[in-house]
């Protein structure tokens, strides 16, 4: 179990997390004023990429965990943790896909008047191409439609849970509860309350959504 191999899997999981997060943002726009054909295409693109990462990563992890090769306890522990996180990620993505399927069926984009005016204008989160996905050496699958992908993911999940005898709840996480945020988030961000401040007529800045705001 080389160190290099671990980082590849963890990076792959992070990649999956990134793709599914973009998908999450896009699904939240379906049916709203930010919805459109391009958004839907981007959703298709992202879920297909997610599917590839899921297949590849599931195969790798399956090899590591269901195999009978005795591995070191520490390796086994982090392998199991990765496994649990992977399953959680797939479950989370599956629930988003189900919601997407439901919403797409409901708002078919034929009549833009039915879209809900939520204030959002552009739902796009463009996925960047990633060199990290080039390690996935799967053949190009013919285009999967959403419902087929949902079925396949469900089947994959149940198969994975049957084949790997890891108790989900027995795994301990690596992060403490109240941790310091990572180094990428250097600049402390404005809170929603700060962003929602409105300049009133009397040139006094008042918060739009603060509890103490007057009506």
């Amino acid at each position: 179990m080389s160190l290099w191999r671990w980082s590849v899997d963890e990076l792959a999981l992070q990649r999956l997390s990134y793709i599914t997060s973009c998908f999450h943002h896009m699904v939240a726009c379906v049916g709203s004023s930010a919805d459109g054909h391009f958004l839907r295409e981007q959703m298709e693109e992202s879920r297909r990429r997610a599917e590839r990462v899921v297949s590849a990563l599931s195969q790798r992890l399956l090899c590591q965990l269901s195999g009978s090769t005795p591995s070191m306890l520490k390796d086994r522990k982090s392998s199991e943790r990765l496994w649990v996180n992977f399953l959680s990620a797939v479950e989370n993505f599956l629930s988003d896909m189900r919601k997407a399927s439901h919403l797409i069926g409901w708002f078919p984009l034929t009549d833009r008047r039915t879209l809900v005016n939520t204030g959002a204008v552009d739902g796009l989160v463009v996925l960047e191409a990633s060199p990290q996905e080039s390690w996935i050496s799967l053949e190009e699958e013919p285009n999967l439609d959403l419902n087929t992908q949902i079925c396949r993911t469900e089947q994959l999940l149940s198969e994975l849970q049957l084949r790997v005898p890891v108790f989900l709840w027995a795994v301990e996480c690596g992060n403490p509860a109240w941790f310091e945020s990572g180094t990428e988030l250097d600049t402390p961000d404005d809170s929603l309350e700060d962003l929602m401040e409105v300049v009133t007529h009397s040139n006094k800045v008042s918060s739009c959504c603060c509890i103490r705001a007057s009506k």
Binding site: L13, S21, G31, S32, R113, V121, L124, C209
Partner: protein, 459 residues
């Protein structure tokens, strides 16, 4: 009290009623650029966001659309806010519709209440983590309590939660500023609806925890049975009873529903002289079976009479009568039972241990239906452990076993198999109709003129 809801409210399930469909239809109608609710732009410091609507416009639209009064419209609109279809921009925790210039916005369909999915704890954990990443110290006390609770019980996937929160946060930063504000508002509104803010009182939290502790301690102390043991008991039960099961084994002599012959019922009646072999065999399964079948109970009484130990069964029967009898007769029954069985020197004194006797006598001062429960159980166990087995070995039982009937099923079953299909109900019905028609014709009032014509023609 509120903190109880806070900590135990994990997946609140929406009521599964169809009103959601109707509300959704109304929400969509509100969007129509011509006939829907008019919106305007909201100018913030950092950006401008379209589609903000005033409360009074919504209320007016609803009143017009549904042809109701302004008060009703306001109540209806408040429901739309409470369920999360519309959210307030100012004072976001107060989910009411104000009939004035208060600003609202439509929630995106992704966050609408739906019967299909409930708000998942995992998603809530991701949301809270995102808030925490964005700016530390932003979580309110009730949110912190939720967060700690979720960290405990979702601990195994916490790495995933942190990772997903980070990635969602980063992806959000890629969006345009206005859209980002909108999405954050939407998300916040969704969680206000699905995990409502509660005021946490620390002492009530402690009280809640203490009660939880007691509950779990009691659960641990309860006696448990290994599944291997209970499965073994199930196997034993099936082996014993399988020949007596009316579905798994044929009735002897025959199933009256199939052969139209009710010998089976007549042979197994309450006061039959000689019972069937199957019935007698069933008495040997347990004392409970023996006593439940009144014929068996009679036989048991015969045996006990010979042994001069009938008082146990008599007491047991008296206790049953007390349990199932009328409320008005209870005190008199209790008294007679006491005089007959429990008082020192009573004619049919039962021999139960001192502690049970003491409790029972004390309980009889204020008799209720189950006052003899302990004594009855004790007596039942005495009979079960001793008398019952002696009964099974006794000449009384062996005698009845020998004499029991074993009816021959062969001929009746054969008859059943040879039965024809019978007349088709439709044919029977047609015959009935014909007869009815004839009878109606015969009973109809006689048309004198027609009759006279007929007679004339005959002439």
């Amino acid at each position: 009290k509120n903190s109880v809801k806070c900590c135990t409210q994990s997946n609140f399930v929406w009521p599964r009623i169809s009103f959601c469909f109707q509300l959704e239809a109304i929400m969509v109608e509100m969007q129509d650029p011509k006939s829907g609710v008019k919106g305007s732009e909201q100018k913030l410091n950092v950006t401008t966001i379209p589609h903000v609507i005033a409360g009074k416009d919504i209320v007016a639209w609803v009143a017009e659309k549904m042809k109701i009064t302004a008060e009703e419209a306001q109540a209806f609109s408040t429901m739309l806010v409470a369920y999360g279809y519309i959210y307030p921009l100012q004072n976001h925790k107060k989910l009411v519709m104000c009939n004035d210039d208060t600003l609202y916005r439509f929630q995106t369909p992704y966050f609408w209440p739906t019967q299909k999915y409930c708000a998942e704890d995992t998603d809530y954990a991701i949301y809270l983590t995102k808030r925490n990443i964005r700016k530390k110290g932003m979580l309110e006390p009730y949110e912190q309590a939720h967060y700690n609770h979720l960290h405990d019980w979702l601990n195994h996937k916490w790495d995933f939660i942190v990772m997903q929160a980070t990635e969602q946060y980063k992806a959000g930063k890629e969006r345009k500023k206005a859209d980002r504000v909108v999405f954050d508002c939407q998300e916040r509104a969704y969680w206000i609806v699905n995990r409502p803010p509660v005021c946490i009182c620390h002492s009530s939290v402690k009280h809640f925890v203490v009660r939880c502790n007691i509950f779990y301690q009691q659960a641990i102390m309860r006696s448990k049975v290994k599944s291997s043991v209970s499965l073994g008991a199930l196997v034993k039960y099936i082996t014993t009873y399988k020949n007596h099961d009316p579905f798994l084994a044929p009735c002897v002599p025959s199933n009256p529903w199939q052969t139209d012959n009710d010998t089976y019922w007549t042979l197994n009646m309450r006061r039959v002289e000689l019972p069937t072999k199957m019935r007698v065999e069933r008495w040997s399964f347990s004392l409970f079976e023996l006593l439940s079948d009144l014929r068996g109970r009679d036989d048991f009484k015969i045996f006990l009479k010979k042994e001069f130990s009938g008082e146990n069964l008599a007491f047991w029967e008296a206790a049953e009568e007390l349990k199932w009898g009328t409320a008005s007769s209870m005190s008199s029954k209790a008294e007679s039972i006491f005089k007959t069985f429990l008082a020192p020197g009573a004619p049919r004194w039962i021999n139960i241990d001192g502690r049970t006797m003491g409790l029972t006598v004390k309980g009889l001062e204020h008799p209720h239906r189950y006052v003899l429960e302990a004594a009855q159980t004790h007596v039942f166990l005495l009979m079960k452990k001793d008398t019952f087995f002696r009964y099974l070995k006794s000449p009384v039982y062996k005698d009845i076993q020998k004499k029991a009937l074993n009816p021959d099923p062969a001929q009746l079953e054969a008859n059943a198999n040879n039965r024809g299909a019978g007349i088709h109900p439709i044919i029977l019905w047609q015959q009935e109709e014909e007869e009815k028609a004839k009878a109606a014709a015969a009973a109809a009032p006689v048309d004198v003129k027609a009759m006279m014509n007929k007679l004339d023609r005959k002439k």
